[in-house]
Assembly symmetry: C2
Homo-oligomer: 391 residues x 2
C-alpha cells in the first residue's frame, strides 16, 4: 500500500453520511411513556465491516458533538471532533475497525430532533418533540445496529454524554457489547451538573427570539440565549488551570484596560467567540432536549437505586477513564462506576489521566490517554480474535 495515502485509506464510505428510517413498522417505546415513530436517524461510518461483523466500534458523541468523528466535517469544513482518536493507525484504527457514530436522537445533524420535520405534521417538531432520555438515545442506536445486521458491538466508546450512553449500552444490552470504554463520564448527573444546564436553558428561554420554541416559524434564531448557554457550559469544560495557562489576565489587543464593557480580557474574547460560533452549528431547542436527557440520567435509578444492580450480569470488559482536572465529571464519579462494576466482579480497569485540560481533555491532544485507549482496544481485539495491530 502506498505510503502517505492515508486519506483514501480512511474509507469513509459516504462523506455526507447515512440516513435510516426507524419505527415505521413498530414505533419505539420512550421512557416518558409515549410511542415514537417513524423517525430518521443519521449516522456516519468509517472503515470496512468484516465478514463476521465482529469489528464494529460504536462511538457515542457528547452533548454538542455529532456523527462526524474524523476527516472533514461536511458542515463546518473543519476536522471531525475526534480526529485525535479515530483514523488510520490511531487508537480507533479505521483500517482494522468498522466505526459507526450515530447522531443522537434529539440532535440537530440529521437525526430526529426538534428542528427536523415531523412526518406526521410535515412541520418541524419544535417543542412537540418528546422529551427523551439517554436510554431512548441508546434504544434508537440499538435499532440502527440491528438494521445493519450487527449482533454484537466489539466496542462501545464515548466521552461525557457519550460515556453515559456507553454505560447504558453495557447494562441494557449485555449480550451485545464485547467491550466498553466510558470516558470522563458519570452514572448520574449531579446537582451541580443539573444546575449549570438549567442556567443554559433559562438563558435560551429568556431570549425573545426563542418565541416559545417556535423560532423557526418566525425566521428567528435565539442567538444571544444560546450563546450565553454555550459560554457558561464552556467554562465548565475547562479547568481553572487551563484557563490560567491559556489566558491568565492577559488583555486582548491592548496594553491598558479600556475601563468599559468591551472584551478587555482575552478570556472574555475567547468565550464570546465560543458562544457566537456555536450558534452557527447548533440548534437551541436541541440544546434544551439533550441537556434535559443528561439531567435525567441516573443509571442506578433505572435499577432500583443500585448501580451494582445495573451492572449485574454484565459481560463487557470495561476501561473507565477520568482526567485529574475534570471538575464537571470528576474522578470520584468515575470511581463510583468502577466500584459498582467491582461489586459484580466485572472485568474492569480504571485509569485517571493526569491532565490540566479539564473535562475537554478527552477531545484534546492527550498522549497518555491515547496510549491507554489503544492498549485497551488492542487487547480486547486480540481476545475477540481480531488479531494484533501491524504496529
Amino acid at each position: 500500500m502506498p505510503k502517505g495515502d492515508h486519506k483514501s485509506r480512511q474509507l469513509v464510505t459516504n462523506t455526507s453520511g447515512f440516513n435510516i428510517t426507524l419505527g415505521d413498522t413498530q414505533p419505539m417505546n420512550l421512557d416518558n411513556g409515549a410511542q415514537f415513530g417513524p423517525f430518521d436517524i443519521a449516522y456516519q461510518t468509517y472503515g470496512i465491516l468484516n465478514a463476521e461483523k465482529s469489528n464494529v466500534i460504536l462511538i457515542c458523541h457528547a452533548l454538542t458533538g455529532d456523527q462526524y468523528v474524523a476527516g472533514e466535517h461536511p458542515v463546518t469544513g473543519r476536522s471531525g471532533w475526534w480526529d485525535e482518536m479515530v483514523g488510520v493507525g490511531k487508537p480507533i484504527d479505521t483500517e482494522r475497525f468498522f466505526v459507526i457514530c450515530i447522531n443522537a436522537l434529539g440532535g440537530c445533524m440529521g437525526s430526529a430532533g426538534p428542528k427536523e420535520i415531523d412526518p406526521k405534521t410535515n412541520r418541524p417538531y419544535g417543542l412537540e418533540f418528546p422529551v427523551i432520555t439517554i436510554a431512548d438515545m441508546v434504544r434508537a442506536q440499538k435499532l440502527v445496529i440491528e438494521q445493519l445486521g450487527i449482533d454484537q458491538l466489539f466496542c462501545v466508546v464515548g466521552g461525557s454524554m457519550g460515556a453515559m450512553q456507553v454505560l447504558e449500552w453495557a447494562s441494557r444490552y449485555k449480550d451485545n457489547v464485547f467491550s466498553a470504554m466510558p470516558i470522563a463520564g458519570a452514572a448520574r448527573h449531579t446537582a451541580q451538573n443539573i444546575a449549570f444546564h438549567e442556567v443554559g436553558r433559562q438563558a435560551i428561554l429568556a431570549d425573545p427570539d426563542w418565541h416559545g420554541g417556535n423560532y423557526m416559524e418566525h425566521g428567528a434564531v435565539p442567538r444571544r440565549g444560546l450563546g450565553v448557554a454555550r459560554m457558561t457550559a464552556h467554562i465548565t469544560y475547562l479547568s481553572e488551570a487551563a484557563l490560567h495557562r491559556k489566558f491568565g489576565r492577559n488583555l486582548q489587543n491592548r496594553a491598558q484596560p479600556s475601563y468599559g464593557f468591551d472584551a478587555d480580557f482575552q478570556v472574555e474574547s475567547y468565550l464570546r467567540h465560543q458562544g457566537s460560533t456555536f450558534v452557527e452549528r447548533f440548534d437551541a431547542n436541541s440544546y434544551l432536549y439533550i441537556t434535559r436527557a443528561m439531567d435525567y440520567f441516573d443509571l442506578a435509578a433505572e435499577y432500583g437505586g443500585s448501580l451494582a444492580a445495573a451492572f449485574d450480569g454484565v459481560k463487557a470488559r470495561f476501561c473507565i477513564v477520568s482526567f485529574s482536572s475534570d471538575w464537571l465529571f470528576p474522578t470520584a464519579e468515575n470511581r463510583a462506576i468502577v466500584h459498582a462494576l467491582n461489586a459484580v466482579a466485572a472485568d474492569v480497569s480504571f485509569v485517571e489521566i493526569e491532565s490540566d485540560q479539564g473535562h475537554d481533555a478527552f477531545l484534546l491532544d492527550e498522549p497518555e490517554f491515547r496510549r491507554v485507549a489503544k492498549g485497551f482496544i488492542d487487547s480486547c481485539a486480540e481476545q475477540r480474535g481480531l488479531g494484533r495491530p501491524d504496529r
Copy 2:
C-alpha cells in the same frame, strides 16, 4: 445591664442609614483617569465610637451585599447579611466596637451608582457612570472615614470582594489600618472568575429589557438577564458537595420526572428562586459595574507586578481566612497573599477552615470561622489597648 435586652443594646444609631456627599469641593481621582464628584455615599453604623476613635471596624461588603450587615434590613425586612458575625457578643461585638459598613461606590443601596441621579444632569447616571475599580471604592471609603474624623481603622474586614477591599486598604493606606482580615479573597481575579462574570454580563446585555443600559427611562427591568446572571454566579458560590447535600437529584414536589422543561429538580427550583428574588433587590447596571471592578482587581499589577511590593511597609496585623471547599476564591489564592506578606515580614496568620459550604461559607453558620475571627479581633483589641471582652 438587663438580660435579654440585646436589641436596644445593638445601637444602630439610624436604622435607615446615613448619607454623605463627597467630592464637592474637590473631585475624586478615579483609576480610569477621570475626576468624579460630587457624589453621595451611603453607610450604616452599629455601636458607639469611643472618645479616641480607636474602636472602628470597617466592614467591606461583597458583590451583592450592602451596608446593612446586622439587624433588620430596611428594604428586604430580612436579617442583615452578616448577622452571624456582627452584634452583641458576636465576633464583631457592637458593644465594644463602632462598626461601619459603606455601600460600595457603583452599588445600588444609596451610594453613587448607575441607578442614582447624576447631580450634574439630574438624570440617572446609567452607563454614563464611570467604570470604577476596587481601589476607587476604597478611595471613596477613605473619604467617608476622614469626614468622620477617624484617622486609623482598628480593623478592616470583609469576604470575597470585601477581602479585595481589605487588601487594597492595607496596602494603600498603610498608616490607617491597625488590623486586617481578608476572608475568602484573592489578590487578583483569575481567568475563571472573569469568565463567570462575563457570562453574567452577557446575559444582562442580551436582555432586550436592558435597552442599552437605559431601562429606567423605558420603565423596564432586565429581569431575565439579571436572573440568569445571578443563577450562574450562585452556582459558583456553593460547592458541589453542598449542592449534593442540599438537593442531590431530588425532585421538586413530584415522585416522577415530568419529562418537560419545568423545574423538575429541587436544585432547578432553588436556582430560579435565587434569580427571581435577586432581581427585586439589585440593579442590573450595578451588577455590570461591580463585576467589572472585581475583574480589574490585580493588586500586584498596581505595584509593578509584585504582590510583595504591594505590601512593602505594611503595618497592619493580618489574619487571612479561606474555606476548603471554596473553588471560586480557593485556598491557593489566599495562600499567595500569605506568601507575599511573609516576604515583607508582615504580622500574618492564616487559617483554612474545613467546610463543605463553598465560597458562601463566610456568610453562613461556621462556628470554627467565628472562633478564628473572634480570637483575632480580641487579640488585636488587646494590642490596641481596647481591653478584653467581658466574656
